[in-house]
């Protein structure tokens, strides 16, 4: 029999060991399932976890793939810290992209160097608006934000599909559901490296992350608002007693996370796709939930978590091409990883005691 005994204080060791051990256990159990279903475990291991590191351009593509995950993950970090369960980032990503993309397609003649920055702002507003729906329903009418934000994902997917096949469809697209290409100013360029040229798809959008990580770190660790968010999540009664306005905090974290999801969408599409299409997200909004947890709801952790998860995503792409494994298998690893990470959180707070069954 296993029994848990509460620790006097949260174990520092487990904070570090937890995620690392979780990753190893996830790889082990994941491969066990693959073996059970008749795949070669060594080849799977190579394709999913190692092949993304096999070439320099592939390595830079990891950062490209990690970019939207990290941006969305940072936003979700704020929500989860405040115990607000926004699981609809996928929808906020789509609506932010759609609003900014529509702007770019409808007003391409605005000649300004700051075109892409205007798009990013519009993307933020779009995502925040989509997150405002669960926020207002939660705070005014006590409607569960999990279900509302998730339902809005389906609505957003159908809505962008309608826009791209209808009003914004390019008449020259030969029947494909695609918008016109973005104007010049709406494109985020690849970074040229002197002497080497481009490194995979590595683009200037990465700079946004370099800004976002320190700002969000300062926000959660050094500001009063960041402190209030933490208290609300960890000890809601204390927050109430201290007179923190719970509703204001709930709305704020939802708006910021929705906004960041929208920004992630703008950067992703402007850098990698360059036009609107029915599918713009490929599950980034859902995967970012895992990224936020793997990063222990901490900006620097999320940076590393984004890179790790992006590796697996790219590995799964490779595995699909070489082994015919469906892409969705990344979910298998993500789910197992989340289970072990959460168990690690329990072990931070409790000691295990083994005893004989009597």
């Amino acid at each position: 029999m296993i029994t848990f005994i509460p620790r006097d204080k949260v174990s520092k060791n487990w904070t570090i060991i937890g995620p690392i051990l979780s990753i190893f256990l996830t790889v082990f159990f994941g491969l066990l399932i693959f073996t059970f279903l008749g795949y070669n475990p060594l080849e799977t291991l190579y394709q999913i976890f190692l092949s993304p590191f096999s070439r320099i351009d592939r390595i830079s593509d990891i950062f490209v793939k990690a970019c939207p995950l990290i941006i969305v993950g940072i936003g979700l970090m704020l929500c989860f810290r405040a115990n607000v369960w926004n699981i609809g980032a996928e929808g906020q990503f789509i609506i932010g992209t759609l609003l900014a993309g529509s702007f770019a397609l409808l007003f391409p003649s605005i000649e300004t160097k700051f075109f892409i920055f205007i798009m990013i702002v519009i993307g933020f507003i779009g995502g925040a608006l989509w997150a405002f729906i669960p926020a207002i329903l939660k705070t005014k009418l006590n409607v569960n934000e999990i279900l509302v934000s998730l339902m809005l994902v389906y609505v957003a997917m159908l809505f962008i599909d309608f826009i791209v096949r209808g009003p914004l469809r390019d008449p020259m697209s030969f029947g494909f559901p695609l918008s016109k290409p973005y104007p010049e100013g709406a494109i985020i360029n690849k970074i040229p490296f002197p002497g080497i040229g481009y490194l995979g798809q590595l683009h200037y959008g990465i700079l946004f992350i370099i800004l976002l990580i320190p700002i969000s770190w300062l926000f959660v660790n050094k500001t009063l608002s960041g402190f209030k968010i933490n208290v609300l999540g960890a000890a809601p009664k204390a927050a109430k007693f201290a007179g923190f306005k719970q509703n204001t905090i709930t709305i704020t974290v939802l708006l910021i996370s929705g906004g960041l999801a929208g920004v992630a969408g703008v950067i992703e599409v402007s850098a990698n796709i360059g036009q609107l299409q029915p599918e713009v997200s490929f599950g980034y909004g859902f995967t970012a939930i895992i990224v936020a947890f793997l990063g222990r709801l901490n900006p620097v952790g999320i940076l590393f978590a984004g890179i790790i998860i992006a590796t697996v995503k790219l590995g799964a792409d490779n595995a699909q091409m070489s082994m015919g494994i469906p892409k969705v298998v990344t979910g298998l690893f993500e789910g197992i990883l989340l289970f072990f990470l959460l168990t690690g959180e329990t072990l931070q707070k409790y000691k295990i005691k083994w005893s004989k069954v009597t």
């Binding site: 296993i2 029994t3 848990f4 509460p6 399932i33 693959f34 279903l37 369960w85 699981i87 729906i133 329903l137 009418l141 006590n142 409607v143 569960n144 999990i146 279900l147 509302v148 998730l150 339902m151 809005l152 389906y154 609505v155 159908l158 809505f159 599909d161 309608f162 096949r165 209808g166 859902f286 939930i289 895992i290 947890f293 015919g324 494994i325 469906p326 892409k327 969705v328 298998v329 990344t330 979910g331 298998l332 690893f333 993500e334 789910g335 197992i336 989340l338 289970f339 959460l342 168990t343 959180e345 329990t346 409790y350």
Partner: protein
């Protein structure tokens, strides 16, 4: 008209089953957000079993077992390892999406025979009503039986009262000597079984082949139905039929060429869920007693 009502009933059965199972799980104080994942597992399990063994009834058993398997994973982590229920439930759905994608890959493009209709002697000859109520398949009858059973179980049986006690105040239930963890395990697995059968219904009756993520959010709508029903079993029937009706109405609209874009029509079930939740939640927050008081809270076993 008969045909339309029959399709509405068929569409609502997966929702009805999954929501009923989740109701029992939540009554024990466990919030399992993995319903969508358990339904997907039920669907793939049922398809696999029917393709392998040939008889659609094995699909029901396989669906139930797949759901129970997923619910056990959830139980190990949330009940024994005391992990956060919301996050674990999300994890379960993500995990199941991956696992079913992998397990379902070899099934793509294969069709299964559908579950036969069972005519009930004499009753099925009643005009109109007989056609609708007494010429259904086994799962349809089963789901009504389950609703009747749990209504009785929760209200009149001793075990049902213990289950509610565990969900309302796990510490007191524990001090009186009830095995909180064991009861929650059973309740969660019952929820998994119902969601699994509900998921199995999709390939066995609605669309007889596998496609990735074929539950299309039904698990989440089922979760919303539990709130909509204010945790009262018979109200789930009403809610499920309303959602079935909306789903079919938008399909009919698309087929008849209503002047509304098909995507906007397809949004209806999801928008209706938000509207329904909004209408009910305001009332629930005034009368909190319908919500199991320990819902979502991990139980720490002090010995």
């Amino acid at each position: 008209m008969d045909a339309l009502i029959l399709t509405i009933i068929a569409t609502s059965i997966p929702l009805l089953l999954a929501a009923t199972g989740e109701l029992i799980t939540e009554k024990s104080g466990v919030l399992n957000l993995g319903v969508e994942g358990m339904m997907l597992s039920g669907a793939v399990g049922a398809l696999g079993a029917v393709l392998w063994l040939g008889n659609p009834y094995f699909g029901i058993i396989a669906g139930a077992l797949s759901g129970i398997f997923m619910a056990s994973i959830f139980s190990i982590f949330t009940i024994n390892f005391m992990t956060n229920q919301v996050a674990t439930g999300l994890g379960l759905t993500i995990f199941a999406t991956g696992l079913t994608g992998l397990a379902g890959a070899p099934l793509v493009g294969k069709t299964v025979p559908s579950l036969p209709k069972i005519e009930i002697f004499l009753l099925s000859d009643i005009p109109f009503v007989g056609e609708i109520l007494f010429k259904q398949d086994f799962i349809a009858y089963l789901s009504i039986a389950i609703i009747i059973f749990i209504t009785y179980f929760l209200k009149y049986s001793k075990s049902g009262i213990v289950l509610r006690a565990v969900g309302d105040d796990h510490q007191s239930a524990h001090s009186v000597g009830y095995p909180v963890k064991k009861i929650r395990w059973y309740a969660t697995c019952f929820g998994g079984m119902c969601a699994g059968i509900g998921g199995a219904y999709i390939p066995l009756v609605l669309t007889p082949h596998w496609s990735e993520g074929m539950t299309a959010g039904r698990g989440w709508i089922a979760l919303a139905l539990v709130v909509f029903a204010s945790w009262i079993p018979w109200r789930i029937i009403v809610g499920a039929l309303i959602f079935g009706g909306i789903t079919i109405a938008q399909l009919v609209g698309q087929a008849r060429g209503w002047p509304i874009p098909s995507q906007i029509l397809s949004m209806m079930p999801y928008l209706a869920t938000i509207v329904a939740l909004t209408m009910i939640s305001g009332r629930i927050s005034k009368n909190n007693s319908v919500v199991p008081a320990s819902l979502g809270k991990p139980f720490f076993d002090t010995q």
